[in-house]
Symmetry: C2
Subunit: 332 residues, 2 copies
Amino acid sequence: MLRVIQIGLGPLGRKTVQFAAERPALRVVAAVDPSPDIAGRQLSDLCGAGGAIAVASSLPAALSAAAEPPQVAILTTYSDLDRVEAQLCELADAGLPVVSTCEELSYPWITHPDHAARIDARFRERGLACLGTGVNPGFLMDYLPAVLTGLCRSVRHVTVRRVQDASTRRVPFQVKIGACLSIEEFAARVAEGTLRHVGLPESTHFLAAALGLRLERVEEELRPVLADLPVTTGFRPIDPGTACGVEQIARGYAEGREVVRLEFRATVGEAESFDQVEIDGEPPLLSTIAGGVNGDIATCAVVLNALAVVATAPPGLHTMLDLPIPTAGRTV
Amino acid sequence: MLRVIQIGLGPLGRKTVQFAAERPALRVVAAVDPSPDIAGRQLSDLCGAGGAIAVASSLPAALSAAAEPPQVAILTTYSDLDRVEAQLCELADAGLPVVSTCEELSYPWITHPDHAARIDARFRERGLACLGTGVNPGFLMDYLPAVLTGLCRSVRHVTVRRVQDASTRRVPFQVKIGACLSIEEFAARVAEGTLRHVGLPESTHFLAAALGLRLERVEEELRPVLADLPVTTGFRPIDPGTACGVEQIARGYAEGREVVRLEFRATVGEAESFDQVEIDGEPPLLSTIAGGVNGDIATCAVVLNALAVVATAPPGLHTMLDLPIPTAGRTV
């Protein structure tokens, strides 16, 4: 039995609490979210599970209210390390190892070396482990391809494709990928930074590290996918010439050539959803998950599956490269 | 740079030396094989790579002949722990961590608990790590499906299918799977135990452990696949009614029902080769490697990729469940 504190009760945090409640090996004993419309409410009310535990507005308040002390923390708050670093350090100081969905934490060593070094130092000081993970970044476009390279005598290039039909996804997801926007509106959302999927550079560096390479540079490209016919499968109709979604590509270069290429594409009305890894190596490999992986479910699952691994890991900031595999039934 | 000693210079050991020679991070500094037709020969002669290192007939002879002391051992000798245990312990006593392709070592905790306990104790005493791995068992039918369960909130059942067209494989492989045998000849080979793929029970227990389950029982079934039309794609023609290969199925039961099913099928003239994992869970997953994975290349690759992980692992007997992923570029 592992006692968990949940930090962040947005959609992801709520689903995590719900899934955790299904597992006899886990018990959520405390929760934190300072949002005025969340703090003070009970988990059972917010998440449909988790019982009569009131969400506290701060970590100290949650710890003093908890009937039993938590042993590990789940942090699902922000995508960026600028805002997450202080939260992580507060958890370390409270003696809690952490699994977080912060995208920039999934492989921060190249993109945020100073944040990474400070977080690593703090967790080492406290003798605790910290891991950033999730489905993407954290698994499908970095960890799984890295696992598959284990079958190879040599690898020249890796392509990863995550292609999703957003028609059946939540409306906020369809909005997030720019569905129904004009070219100008799409460009404005890109400029304000609210349309980008966070994590492709981290995944690119992760995969390069798995190949024993240090990248010279990473290029990232983001463009709208425009409907060429009317699309009626989403939350509202999309006219030809307006955006039905986004395509985002990251390329990693080493030794003067492209060695890693990540293609993320999500549109309303996409013909086929799939997750694919193509390794140009010896042997060559083409591995496909038909229909793709539901991101909302899998992110929460990966986090819960990683808890036992992180609770018993050596101190410091880890990535998925450093730890044993977080399988669906792993317990402490 | 990791200095390696290769124990066993059969086909697998020779290929391992050949692949190791391609890697700047590895150097084979010694080799052992007592076979009269191998001992005394040079690696470059036997493997087409590896230089002017003579194969010694014993470990002490190899260690005293080595210009530099090895840091890690690769053991590719036998499939059964009865014969491998003493070899492993001799390596531990010589101060060497080991990666072995011994099939029964891939997950010995249930099928050979006494061997496993003794090997674990010896490597712990010496402060060294030991790992059994390979492509199958070791990766495709146990490790990779276990990795994929990490995406799941819950798993009810896992099916793994390894289906191979043996037409283009080495003649010894075609012979090994019973191609061209009559039903009676096939039954005789099964009875003498020379036709069975070793490792399915180990893979079944591995996967169950990944799911947090302890199996009540494992059933294994082995039957010939009979040609229904003449097959002419193998090393010699196969008449209808004779065997073109083998189908071997293992089923693992827990909580009164089947939870893991492994299907291994290799025939001359198989319509399609593939490696597939099907998870009945939330989310459901169907992951397929098109064309399948070449077993000879991948086994050697997995072993070499695991060296750096094992050289730095905590002491004791490990399985692939316990260690970080052995990626294609991992170095110490």
